[in-house]
Amino acid sequence: MKFRWVALMSIRLSSITSLQADPQYGVDEGLRLYRANDMKGAITAWEGVLQRGSASGPLYYNLGNAYYRIGNIGQAILHYERARRLLPRDHDVVANLDIARLATVDRVEAPLRLIIWKWVDAVRDYFSLNELAAILIISGFLGLGIVIGWFFVPNKFRAGLRTAGIAVAAVYILTVSWYGWRAVLNGQEYAIVLAAKTDVCSAPDAASTQLFALHEGTKVRCGESLSGWINIQLVDGRKGWISVKDLAKI
């Protein structure tokens, strides 16, 4: 009898913990708080989901919204950028990111580029890494199916099957290279300045010459890091060292 109780209790406990571990639960809880205008509560709930090891594009996007509402522009931009990696074709993410960027102080002029490179970027960013991975795996299996089918279909279907096989092979090769391209680019780390103001120095040392100052919400490209300092580069090409605690990587 006693054992049954213990067993029952343990089932209960496990169900509760599994409920909390379920990311969907945390997302819904955060959404409820968000709608009740409790932005801090929503942030706590959603950050909890991230800490338990689950992430999704909408989750990052919602976090960005909540941070924007409490006026934390740096965190808002950081999470919108993270959301954009997972939801590259989502208009809301891009629109909110643009609105959040209005509140940033720094204006860094990007060098002029040919319009074709913008198209290239648009094509490259059309799919997220996860989607490319899915396309890659699916086209792989499709190709396999075609190879197997080759031996079983009557001769009259073989011409069509060969065309399909060539198409799938082309998609496969394209996706593999596309994935590699994106993965390499994502491997170049970008970061968002979170501190209200941070000094960019000429060397990884607070006593070195201060080159310029950056403010919350500015996006920088990360280079090597050295004992609490990180080498960053702006889109206009300027470089310097910044204290690692003032940044968060996307």
Partner: protein
Amino acid sequence: MSRFVWLILPILAVSAFAQEKLTATVDRTTLRVGESLTLTLTFEGSASGVSEPKVPPLEKLQVAGGPFTSTSFTIVNGRASSTASFSYILRAKEAGQGMIGPAKVVFRNKELASNSINVTILTASASAPGAGKDMKGGAADVFIRVTPDRTTAYVGEQITLTYKLYFARQIASPEIARLPRATGFWVEEISAPQQLTLTDEVINGRPYKAAVLRKLALFPTGPGELDVEPMVINTKVETQSRRRSLDPFDIFNDPFFQLGRQFEAVELESPTVRLNAKPLPQTGVPIDYDGAVGSFEMRTVLDRQTCKTDEAVTFTIEIEGTGNIKTLAEPRVSIPPDIQRFDPESSEDIRRNQAKVAGKKTFKYVLIPRAPGLQEIPEIHYSFFDPERGKYQTITGGPLRLQVEKGSGGGMLPSGIAVASKQGVENIATDIAFAKTQAGSFTIPGRAPHRGIIFWMGAAAPWAALLSIVATARIQRKMSGQQRRRDLLRAAFKETQAAEKALKTGHIEQAAQHAAVALDSMAESAVGQPCAALTPMELEDIWRSQQLDTELLQMIRDVQDECDRARFASGTFSRESAGQLVRKVKTVYAGIERLLGKGLL
């Protein structure tokens, strides 16, 4: 020559009878701070054509009045002389050795300078006659006192300064020479009486007459310590009679008679007032706060409740109360997008006659509804800082409803529906898009797919499957080839047996036939493909390419030839030679079997 003489003569005449001279005199050379003396500059010579002198450089003195000009013309002993005199009233500013520098006049393009005069200025004493600005002592006969109702106020809060003139002696015609200058304030005059009202007041046991000169309302425009510079008035003060009248008949010298009174011009200066403006509190500031300080009420009025489209409606917002009405900002009004709104006209009605500046500011909007329906102007909030309570207040007005009916403007469609006037959909505000309600598929934060095992498994699986299929097929093919060769060999064995059987029954021809089939099968099993269609040369090539024993091939060929002979010329073929043939076939069979057994094929 004579013509020139006439020209020169008058000049000579002038210079002959008049030596131009400028003399400075003072009525006294010793005085106290706050007292004044009269400086007279006398010009002797031809009074006409002399310029007004420049004020001489002064030390420890300042000009309080003048110049008063007079001219006279005298003929003494046949000599005519004219004088012009210019009088100034100078007031002693501070104690010490004062100096009146040389004054200068220009006469016929010639500059004349006067003598300079030294004066002794003593410190003002309580018993000193005349005017003073000593407020604390209260002993001065005439002074101005400034009373602020407070010395510390919030930015935008009213500070009232009262300028009061006190006098214990008769004064005449006080005039404001300079109004107080207040930099950093918004100044409103609350009262500027045309007629001075006198009251009796006792200060330090001394009776005074007092009159309010000015009341000013000051609104600090920024925080910090701010000075209000003094107000200056010019007046005439009755001087103490030099001698008491002892002669009873000397009634004309009695102060009772105006004629006998001596008046002295004085300049009075009010003290400088230092005021402290506190910044407004930073806590609890409403979002829509626009700088209003005071205490206000709001009224919102639409001039009618219903109207037709494209008709103008007046919307009035009145903000009434005490405070700096002039600086009140326009309230933030959000008019529905279906109503066209014009910029408001604002008017102020300020009441200054009270202690506090109060009044009303009116904002009039002309609204033109463009679409029919019930339009609602939402609540209007107006925030101000109430310095008395020390906190921010928000007042609200509205909401107001306006029933808009379809007007006659615009055309009609055949269906009887009015054509609406089109307008662009305007953005009222920009905001971020709402949160996403679908969480989507979850991944591990910040990890690219290729860092996970699932990706590699998924990507490698088709390749692995393909490889395994190819390998299996290859093995299959290899396996099936061996099997076929075995099957052929078995068939060859059976044919051989059938040949032996036919030989025993004496059917030589049949036996040769069986032997030939057996040989074909054996050859096929050796090379792995049917040999009947091959020429001997081709067979030999394949045989060699498979590195088979060529002796065996030769043997097969010999036996085949013998078989052919036995089949097609059976009459010449003996039974023994047929038996030998079958034995040879068996030998070939053994050779092939040995090859297959070794696994060479």
